[in-house]
Amino acid sequence: MGEIIVTMEHIHKTFPGVHALKDVHFELRSGEVMALLGENGAGKSTLVKILSGVHPRDSGSMTIFGQEYGDLSPKQAQALGVAIIHQELNMCRHLSVAENIFLGREQTRLGTLSNREMEKEARRILGDLKIDLDPRKVVGELPVSKQQMVEIAKALSTNARVLIMDEPTSSLTSREIDDLFRIIRELKAKGCGIVYISHRLEELRYIVDRVTIMRDGQFVSSANFADTSMDEIIAAMVGREIKEKFPRVSTPLGKRVLEVRNLNAGRMVRDINFSLNEGEIVGFAGLMGAGRTETTRAIFGADQKQSGEVILDGKAVSIRGVADAIRAGIVLAPEDRKKDGLCTKLSIRHNIALPNLDTLCDAAGVVRRARETAMCVNAIDNLRIKTPSVDKDVATLSGGNQQKVVVAKWLARNSRVVMFDEPTRGIDVAAKVEIYHLMNKLKQQGIAVLFVSSEMPEIMGIADRIIVMCDGRITGELSAAEATQEKVLTLATRFETKVAAANQ
């Protein structure tokens, strides 16, 4: 392992009302992958934002490549070779790969763009990373994983030697993660120092050399990854032992609640048949882009379907729009909370009430405020949402608490079927467990629970039955007892072979 390239000492940072960082210490060596771990709100993001010049620090010192700095501007940080790849990618969707890589640093000759040179250079950078990508492709048409690689290529084209990745794998499939890890290893070999922020602890062992753990804005510990166990890491993150990572309750199987027959909706939802029963949680597994999200949306009426029947409690229900599904008692807590789950400019109260206004309003359509307050307070209690008041903006909550609000919207009414799409994405361990408890509670109440997840351990740990999708079709079904990671993965990669079909 190389020499120390970044040292941050005694870093303090306060935001109005929050002491975000307290005397934090951080160190990065060249040629290593340093995992920066901690629950949501532990201060990881704030720390890397100070390192990359996004936020100024209150006090403390930073030494980068032997030179001491006070505050950095984003531009200075870039010039020093510090690059950050955010969880939400920052790309111009309408521009090409090469144009994105050279955005803001376009090469020109006599004032005109030298497109050919830039494309050549982009191809060289991509080739160095062994990324198979045409630099002329429009970025918006690429899958997220490829976009992320463009982002990495962009960072490297500025000669980044410190690369910060914030939750880089959260939207990737396992195969794409393999690609990413391969690239990370290449970067390591080139002597880059990599700061790796992730909630997915199970993937650390493939790439991480050292870990730094933070909790509540403080530095907790730093160690060689090989010398620590996962239990120790989790204990250090949460400050307490989590007894059971996946709480499981068993309830007797009840009658059939939902049956979906011959559902078709576009390329990603083809001939879907399955059913849900009382007293079970059904997990939808598959790779990213397998059509799981699209399936839930089609059932919920958010997207049009070409054909298919939805049978609820033995009766066929006609769902032409979301409102029909909600009325029938089928609800969906969507995947992307900022995009689909929450009105981020509104309060917790308004968000929880939004899908329930039918029950909260009188005949004239006037909102009954007392009823509404009762519903919201009840939801905050049940889900243990941390907030001083129901009238706080949801934007002020942490990710885990925002996710709980998304869920709370739908639990405030009596539904028969609750579908969760990636309910634990990007939230901390403790909040995840609370979501699991909640799903168990619904299961005990006889509500049919369906959840989509890309985290294999979670599916294996929580679902009573696992339905696996691949390329818009259901490729198999496994009971919790018979399911293994290998079996799930085999089903998830059972693509239709197009070549064979053409040759017949």
Partner: protein, 336 residues
């Protein structure tokens, strides 16, 4: 649970948009006092009455535009619909139609424009700026054609002097409790739409689609129906202002309501309605309309040129949005 009760004052300012509205009210007082010190007549009862009457038009159209701004859209057809309302009602009255019937027909025509806006923006998903630009020209054109491209005669020529006077008095020249009726009309419109926006399901939906249309849709909100309702509210407001202008002139003027859509944006924005949607209070629009009118009146009273008046108002609008942006940036930092 540990839901703390905030202190009343803090709770008041915790209401989203309240801070901006209160800043606008504070600005109003400052502007008023500054002009009053330069020109004591600003404080005279007669002038106050005039200001209240003139601001009423801005308030009513401001309410209509605020509904659209909160949904994250805009209604450029507002001013043309004002003109259409004035021309249709005036033309009918010059032909002897009872003012009530004339008004109802004008209302129906205005609401049709509102529904068309709703269809274009909410259903066909046209950019609101373009869709309502189209209806803006169309509605103005209809206003022109109603009376063969001429202003109308006096409405008294059709419905008689007595009925004409009654109409003009009801909307413009008459007073109730010592204040011009126009202001009371505005107050009634304000109360109705304040209630609709803050206390009803429709109001919640309007904020929700302005904040995040995708999330609202997945919560069972019909974006189309809500957008259409907002456009119908603005068409209704334009209709009322059309009657007021008709009563003021005693006839239909083809150019009635020209540029009002922009005045309406200004009133809303000064009062802290975010042009990006999702936030704002009608209380702010009230303050915005009053600031606007107080400025216009004050500059008039101290004898400032018209050109200067426009410049001052332009600067104030930009300043108000700038303040909004700065405040927003501040909160975002705090949230991290």
């Amino acid at each position: 649970m540990q839901v703390k009760r905030m202190k009343p004052l803090r709770r008041f300012f915790a209401i989203r948009g309240m801070a901006s509205a209160m800043i606008a009210f504070a600005a109003l007082i400052v502007i008023y006092v500054v002009f009053g010190l330069r020109e004591p007549n600003v404080f005279s009862p007669v002038n106050i009455q005039n200001v209240l009457r003139s601001m009423s038009k801005y308030l009513i159209i401001g309410i209509g535009q605020s509904y659209l701004l909160i949904t994250g859209n805009i209604d450029l057809s507002l001013g043309s619909v004002v003109g259409m309302s004035a021309m249709i009602s005036a033309t009918l009255m010059t032909h002897g139609t009872h003012p009530m019937i004339a008004a109802l027909i004008a209302l129906a025509a205005c609401l049709v424009i509102g529904v068309i806006n709703g269809l274009l923006v909410g259903k066909a998903k046209l950019p609101p700026f373009i869709a309502t630009l189209g209806t803006m020209f169309t509605a103005r054109g209809i206003g022109y054609m109603i009376n063969n491209n001429r202003n109308t005669d006096a409405i008294a020529s059709g419905i008689g002097k007595e009925a004409g006077d009654a109409f003009q008095s009801f909307f413009y020249y008459g007073k109730t409790l010592g204040v011009f009726n126009t202001f009371w009309v505005a107050v009634v419109v304000f109360i109705i739409f304040f209630f609709l926006l803050s206390k009803t399901r429709t109001g919640r939906h309007i904020y929700a689609i302005g904040s995040n249309a995708d999330a609202a849709k997945l919560s069972g909100v019909s974006v189309f129906a809500t957008t259409t309702k907002a456009y119908m509210v603005s068409a209704f407001c334009a209709f009322v202002v059309g009657l007021i202008l008709c009563a003021q002139a005693g006839m239909g003027n083809m150019e009635a309501g020209n540029m009002y859509e922009m005045y309406a944006v200004a009133a809303g924005v000064i009062g802290g309605i975010s042009p990006l949607g999702g936030t704002g209070l009608l209380l702010g629009t009230f303050a915005g309309a009053a600031v606007w009118q107080t400025l216009e009146n004050g500059l008039n009273m101290i004898g400032a040129q018209v050109g200067l008046q426009r410049i001052v108002i332009g600067v104030i609008v930009v300043f108000a949005v700038l303040l909004d942006v700065v405040v927003r940036r501040g909160t975002r930092k705090r949230i991290r």
